[in-house]
Symmetry: C2
Subunit: 401 residues, 2 copies
């Protein structure tokens, strides 16, 4: 791209405006003098841009900063509750709804049971209704809504933005942006749920300012959101990060994808529960032997049992963690990331397995990249995907690229 | 980054100059009118930049283009043999030397036996002497040399550019840029050999204009060069692409890295030869039974035998290819690349295994990313790393980023 010296100033103006908006966001509060210094723009130019941003309602003047001799300067910051964004995380049990303001502060959040069987039209209606309820309850009006981000556990074509496949929802080739009609002119943005988490960690979580990292979400499926060169990495068609289908045991169980021993068959939360039920049926001694209906045994019960020192519960969690460790070792050797963040339901049992996973990676990955990576559980927790989805419309406002 | 409207024009000038140089390179030949149209710059601005580039000797006027009504326009192209670059690919048997000109045309190339045992100081002296010989033989003078790129089979710290480890050369913590002293002011640039191949494929090979691809080099070691978002992806510390140490068989042989069943232990050309010798010792029937000294059996003999329909030779090649296929499936699921290019010694036996590898990936990777990837052997062949190393100084000249 060539930036012209003359002409086309509206592009340059917008470019500088976005840059200033971003500086205010990342520094929380800045004076016009600070902005002039940081951008190299003239004080007059900064003043014009600041006025325009204030007029649009994105920023306001607040308090006064430290004096460096003369008058104490007025500080500019993002104007809280001036604009909003909604994030939706469609998942197989519950769908998360999240409303944030321009600053990224959470205004409201709720978890609602996802309609059973995931009939597509019914789910679309459900998303529209629940979002409308949230917007009506908390907001001044739809015109203050920057956009709606929707996170789904599936493959999204990076060009058409069509949902190619969401195996756990049994959806194929759906265009959610077209089918969520009730939002009118409010832009709808679709994202893979692991990438939504990665966007969240990058915007306000553990991966701020980090160029190369991987967020791995473990729930009924396993997927990863990869950042490369500071940006979401989606690959040729948008399916990068399908770690759930890395083969970690060639002789392992058959996977829904047709292959054998995929990570998902050995480390998803569903497979953890299945594994546990299997060994109980085989006569393993556990505090959960007393549960009459084996069907009731789920991840949460296993975690509770592990917390009560149930040896078998702990063993099953650790075994799944070993496979996660193998897959992470592959990722560390292949991508040499600065961080690997484990999220979604994983955060419920990370205390039991995280150190063990770090040990597996230290033993299996090459020494050099293993020494460069921090492996952590998400501090944001299970809502990272919904929050990340809500951040996507904000990113569009602030994005310089 | 903010581009100022006023002041700092030298930056803008250099930016536009590089952009024009790049357009001339990618279009082979362009008129000033074409350049004005492509850049949006004024004809006067284009004229000034073109004059400056001609004065520096990078471009010249050549022939005339098609007329679009008036006078047939003069075309600008890169001036052949105006500037040069040298690439060196240090490998365990032979070291490749390559001289190219500003257009990327090969001026000279040679393969010289790498000094035995790889004593570091001796190898540095060898690299200096052989490069000096090449430069003296073919060139006008060192001042016409844009730089020297050195490709090594090892991990390079992406910040310090220090060679952290080159296991097959037995080097640790070496600063080649500092130790190649005889080149004076000519810049020396160090690169991992698989990344050098990837740079080569991207600059003039099968991956031109492709943003997301992976070049996997198979020789005594196995490594990959990854491009993400159109740029070399190196990870947090520069070691991204260490595919040789992806575990493809947990019960496999012990690897030099301390782990078991790494791809390198099952699919490197050294491991192919070792595997073949092992089955011969175990009594397998092969046309190579007649070779008296088993130590003489190497990859080339095995390939020759396979070409003569030796069943065991074919089987051993295919078995190594199966492991490559497993690793590539992982890469396809993780990175969703547009292309995977297999290079280095692999090109010698690709005819026997490439289709088989494609089949393994079709069976093991997810359908969607598998449908998006082309798996090919490098058409540039074994010299891609040396050529890529030579391209690095050119890239520095043409690089807009």
């Amino acid at each position: 791209m060539i930036r012209q010296k003359t002409g086309n100033n509206s592009f340059l103006k917008e470019f500088n405006q976005t840059a200033i908006l971003n500086l205010i966001r990342t520094h929380k509060a800045l004076s016009k003098a600070d902005l002039a210094k940081l951008t190299g723009l003239s004080p007059t130019a900064v003043g014009l841009i600041a006025s325009s941003l204030m007029e649009k309602g994105y920023i306001h003047e607040t308090g006064t900063g430290e004096s460096k001799g003369g008058r104490r300067p007025v500080l500019l910051e993002l104007k809280p509750r001036s604009f909003y964004s909604v994030g939706i995380d469609v998942d197989i049990d519950y769908t998360g709804f999240m409303m944030i303001d321009i600053k990224g502060d959470i205004i409201a959040e709720k978890l609602v049971k996802t309609p059973e069987n995931y009939a597509y039209e019914r789910v679309m209606e459900f998303l529209e209704n629940e979002t409308a309820r949230l917007v009506d309850e908390y907001m001044v009006g739809w015109e203050k809504l920057l956009g709606i981000g929707v996170s789904v556990p599936g493959l999204i074509d990076s060009i058409t933005k069509e949902l190619v496949l969401a195996p756990n929802l049994k959806w194929k080739h759906k265009d959610l942006r077209a089918d969520l009609k009730r939002f009118g002119n409010v832009p709808v943005m679709i994202e893979n749920e692991a990438m939504a988490s990665a966007i969240c960690e990058n915007w306000l979580g553990a991966c701020q300012g980090i160029d190369n990292f991987v967020c791995i979400n473990v729930s009924s499926g396993i997927g990863a959101g990869i950042f490369a060169h500071g940006k979401p990495y989606r690959g040729a068609g948008g399916s990068a990060g399908e770690l759930g289908h890395i083969v970690v045991d060639e002789n392992g169980p058959k996977c829904g994808c047709g292959n054998y021993g995929c990570l998902e068959t050995l480390a998803s939360t569903v497979s953890i529960a299945e594994h546990f039920k299997r060994i109980i049926r085989q006569g393993a001694l556990s505090s959960l032997n007393s549960v009459e209906d084996l069907g009731q045994i789920d991840l949460n019960l296993i975690i509770k049992a592990a917390a009560n020192q149930d040896v078998e519960a702990k063993r099953v969690l650790l075994e799944s963690a070993r496979y996660l460790g193998i897959a992470i070792s592959n990722v560390v050797n292949t991508l040499n990331p600065s961080k690997v963040i484990l999220g979604k339901e994983f955060v419920r049992y990370s205390d039991f397995v995280l150190d063990y996973i770090r040990g597996v990676v230290a033993g299996k990955a090459l020494e050099y990249p293993a020494s460069k990576v921090e492996i952590e559980a998400s501090q944001i927790g299970e809502k990272a995907s919904a929050l990340g989805a809500a951040i996507i419309p904000l990113k569009a406002l602030f994005s310089i690229n």
